[in-house]
Subunit: 295 residues, 2 copies
Amino acid sequence: MTFEKVTVVGLGLIGGSLAAALRESGEVGEVFGVERDSDSLSFSLENEIIDSGAREIGPAIWGSDVVIVATYVNNIAQVCGEVSGFVSSGTVVCDTGSVKAPIVRRMERGLQNIRFVGAHPIAGKETSGVRESWAGLFSGKRCVVTPIESTCPEALLAVKKLFWLAGSEVVEMDPKSHDEVFSLVSHLPHAVAYSLLGAVGSGGGERNLFDFSGGGLADFTRIALSSPEMWAGIFIENREALLSAIRGFAGKLGEIEKAVALGKVEDLEVLLREARDSGINKEKREENVRENKEN
Amino acid sequence: MTFEKVTVVGLGLIGGSLAAALRESGEVGEVFGVERDSDSLSFSLENEIIDSGAREIGPAIWGSDVVIVATYVNNIAQVCGEVSGFVSSGTVVCDTGSVKAPIVRRMERGLQNIRFVGAHPIAGKETSGVRESWAGLFSGKRCVVTPIESTCPEALLAVKKLFWLAGSEVVEMDPKSHDEVFSLVSHLPHAVAYSLLGAVGSGGGERNLFDFSGGGLADFTRIALSSPEMWAGIFIENREALLSAIRGFAGKLGEIEKAVALGKVEDLEVLLREARDSGINKEKREENVRENKEN
């Protein structure tokens, strides 16, 4: 038994899936869940996502080897504070938030009672809620942990073991780099998807444009069906990196716009080709070169 | 036999798939292919995508009931001109281009020898080339035809039959509306995808950001692997509608950017929710409402 007891606070898609994965691993004695919404809590108990649970953080979480805070990014630090009042000194606490630096910084400044480790398991689907959760969500996926100088090595190892039990490959990054990377690969695409959906939704007039979305649109709009509440929190928490990413994106779109407006087909083709090639790794690039030769 | 002979000019993904579908329908006596690239032409003959073929438009296309011009949008009108020199008066010619009004206008002004019908079968994959083609590409998909006042009704019906044989559902739109709709549901998403790929590609520094593209990025980047040459042509041909669509999109992104910069979480949440809800049809909206109740 790797862990006697693990508590998961926040039984949504991520928390619920983690809880289920840990139970299934057979390496966790007790998985305790904390969830304010009574429907979600009942569902989790009935479906053996957790062994036991409560609607509030309280004495019942005592004895946890690790507490996983899987709430929205904007209240992670606050929840960690509540947790620290009910656990023994030195209890390991990690989060699952999509933004790391602001959270890690807040946690560094306070809460001497717990040993915090920033984590971000990458496995989300667009849907939300514990009914969408499943134990295999993290299997084969990456989890980024973001230790800083003051992070306790044993705490870090405990958190890594947790995510290994869930089937993830664990990689270390510093919090700032994490946020920059994810501003580009995740947050910017989501901001763009919401903008696209908004533009198409208001641009159609009476017509339901989604009748025609055979191609590109469906892919984009799928990710914009995500939880607005969650993404608003993520965007604000990662504000600087996201704004920088948006500016970079707007610059690229502006170049395309200009070439279109001036009718410069060759310039435009070069821009599109550069964009396509800059974005793909060496392997795919070689694939494409082979394809083009065949055409 | 619905058609004695159909010629397809341009054996790429679309032309090749149409040719294959028409052969498989059993309702076309001969499918003749014209393709400049000798590898693609050989491939098409060897794989029974066409019955016979040539590398140039010439006397061999005589006797065609319909000629399908499946080249890139910027040379469709020119190719139609070449075709008209080798077919009997009144031969039906259609295209497959993703932009309609400029092509239909050009064809209206000239070429009294042929009867032109604008068409746009929606079925594209991101890949290109005849090796990616297959007879089922259009099955169950839509084909838009864009007749104008001067379009001959029998020619229109012949073209509809052609796409029915390929398995498509055929809908009529006027060319301008078609271009506005597709500027939003197809051209804008592609412009955005290229911009995103470019921004991510140049934003990563040394790191290969695509190692982290578990979520939103992969969906976007898939459509930007499309042919830059083809899309440059489409963007320019549909310039006005696309520029208008880009402006609308930039406005939405700007609203999100502003709310993020000002740290206004609630405003941002409203923006994202509106975008999500404006973009989805009534059925999905009701699904989402049920989901949210469960969370």
